[in-house]
Symmetry: D3
Subunit: 179 residues, 6 copies
């Protein structure tokens, strides 16, 4: 994985280099004494924000056939993951200790079956004081976990990979996209 890892790593830095110089040298969720805290966002503006995240579940050829409905009806398989992902987005502040609760105003999950993977994309919108990157990543992760749960009797070895933010808009740090 190292080599592949380096790939996104390099992109990441080109794309980061112009972002948030102010916050690049500390973990904002940890105070000077090293204690975790929910960062105070009272003074941030309430603005429209969106985030898009993606991820993939690597599955066996047999699972691909089943999810494509070859031979058997695929039925609710992808719908279950889609709905789990949407509900997962709403549970983000319950799951991630330092996430702010916020009023998600829209969630869209796209799942498609590629030759060796289920591709997942989540788009989340809000009008609030913080961004929805974590909500989008949580939606992708919960949908991916649900895919694994659906297929695990057929394929114990499925792997969740490449869960990452693709793009965000709005907020003080402005727009960002993975170059």
């Amino acid at each position: 994985m190292r080599r592949t890892a380096t790939g996104p790593d390099r992109e990441r830095h080109s794309s980061m280099s112009t972002q948030d110089p102010s916050t690049q040298d500390r973990l904002t969720h940890i105070d000077d004494a090293g204690a975790a805290r929910m960062v105070d966002v009272s003074d941030k503006d309430v603005t429209a924000r969106t985030a898009r995240a993606s991820g993939r579940v690597l599955v066996s050829p047999r699972v691909v056939e089943l999810l494509r409905g070859e031979g058997v009806p695929k039925g609710d398989a992808l719908a279950t993951a889609r709905i789990a992902g949407i509900m997962g987005a709403k549970r983000t502040p319950d799951l991630i200790p330092l996430c702010h609760p916020l009023s998600v105003s829209g969630v869209k999950l796209d799942l498609s079956v590629a030759d060796d993977a289920v591709e997942i994309q989540a788009t989340v919108k809000t009008t609030d004081r913080t961004g929805v990157e974590m909500e989008a990543l949580t939606a992708v992760s919960v949908a991916a976990l649900t895919v694994i749960d659906m297929v695990k009797a057929v394929d114990k070895g499925a792997v969740i990979t490449d869960v990452r933010v693709e793009q965000k808009t709005g907020g003080k740090s402005g727009d960002w996209s993975r170059s």
Copy 2:
């Protein structure tokens, strides 16, 4: 990614080839009409079961420094992810629609900071009618999401990768490990 993906894929099949022939040709969570269901496990035995899952969060060199406490106290950073993962394991049936609620009897999260990633491993135990693979994968995913939340001000491009079951013991399908 395709090449790397093929790697685990191949392993997966060697390791799968002797598993569950009975269930390999259908999605157990979908009935003949295509409807999602929570599979009836009433007749399965209550036995001791364990699962170990792992995953990685690819982060920038600066994040590695911060999480290693170079220059600044790392404080609660990894503890927050560890605790989030343990709590996440308990939330699995709330998040994954068709997962059975079960009485988790032990959860251990190990996080370590490698040169370009945070490595996460979760071990979950139960004595119940179903396995805890999903609980272990959920623990890893929630811990990984929490790591991203902790570092996102410094590194917007962090990526969750290689979330997968490493080993399971107990239950009708017996022991399994990723070869």
Copy 3:
């Protein structure tokens, strides 16, 4: 039931006939590809909204006596259902997959014991981008389920019926009431 059902059905149409022509020919929660989504309400106005819903739990004469405290103290029986309903209203987005989380600003539950039923009414208020009809219906349903739980040892056959929105105010589609 068919005949009775037709009753509300007919009302419903007279009352519907002037509502939302724009949305009457599709399921807004399903996109063109048939995928469930949480509708994007980012552009809707934040306005004061209310909804009132009602429902009934048909119970046996003995249950009516007990809930009226004839012979025995009724104690917390109705209070338990009232509180469960109020808490249920707050859980709506956790339960209904495509509901938007919103900040409920007031909830009132009224329970009364009629000759053959417990009558339940819920009024919910918010100042947000979407209405609270689902919150009011969920409050009524959870209160009704709690009534059944309270009385089931005495009356296994209790029935929840006529759970419906009576009135709503605010929002783009304006005021509506069951004629």
Copy 4:
């Protein structure tokens, strides 16, 4: 409704007349001082138990067309309600104050579109100290609420009706079915 109500009422009593004489004259969830309590079931046997509940959502003809996919793909509409119902069954002890948490071992939701209604049936299994009637009723209610949420833009007047236990097996009070 009164006349129709009397119908189930009468059934109910014939069917009740041979049930639980011991508990017929009090609300078990209320102690002698009138205080709500979670009844102590420590001494009850762990046995296999099932419950089947049903309910209906009365909808307009246009909704029936849409849910049958006439003209447009119905897509995830019924799947969303089915999955919400399954998840709702697992949330029962969170919603109903005096319900015991128990390990649901199987949940099946059946939804079908009749001429003027969506018919819902839930079957829940457990091997535990208490029955799963409340889990089955909660599954039906949450699925029904989800149907209303899906169709409310088209039909504000949908009504949930006839939510009731049809049959239970196992436990001290033995088998019961609505005659």
Copy 5:
């Protein structure tokens, strides 16, 4: 408070002196590397266990009058706290990171209004691998918080005090009571 504190402190030690020598010199929830973990209880016996905890909310004389219903109906005030406490006991593993989920088999909350306080007592039962001390303490704490919420408009200064385990039975460490 020091003096009063010393009181329970002293008791505590007399009562502790014969307990769990094996575990008295470490924090069982922290492993040798200092990491939090959910202790593995797989090998502990499933036995009947009970715990009783108590606590008090110090309130103003006016609040005492109101809660005693002098002049005005006290209505659901204490019932709300009682029900919140029962529900709180069920939420314990969601709230306390390292608590094991367990199947609570009975919960009783007693609230009484003394001259300067609301006295709260919770008794919890289970048949499981771990004790229910935390469930009893959580029930008392949530009931106490609910009392404060009910009275805070009248008395901003209410104080929760003396929340503690009074007695436990069952389990490897056997019976214990505050001497």
Copy 6:
């Protein structure tokens, strides 16, 4: 305890005497019929509000040594309680029946180990229609319960005491602090 109790009691009244005369003679959460309700705050202003609460867990000398890391690494002990408290603040409306859901914009937990107790302080901020006193008190209570869970194998007799609001700012009733 009575004497100590009178202390805060007296303070309380001096500090209360100038507060909210309007609401001092009723329980706002109970309507005229005695029914619990979630008070309608639709007409209250959205303003910046803060609350600070504190509490203490009385523990044995051995626990103090362990939490100070004398001899053994204290590791995640206090971090676990800190994170539990932050997450607890977000769960307040799920736990306290009549609390309004609100968007917490910042939470800080401070824990320190005194000679006979763990001292806990929580500061919560929001910009909403109601105050965050209950969120601050819930954060302190959940952190305190977590401390007890961490130490209970060593000290069964730990006691939570003095959980109370220290200060609030914002809102119609203005600023308040415990004199």
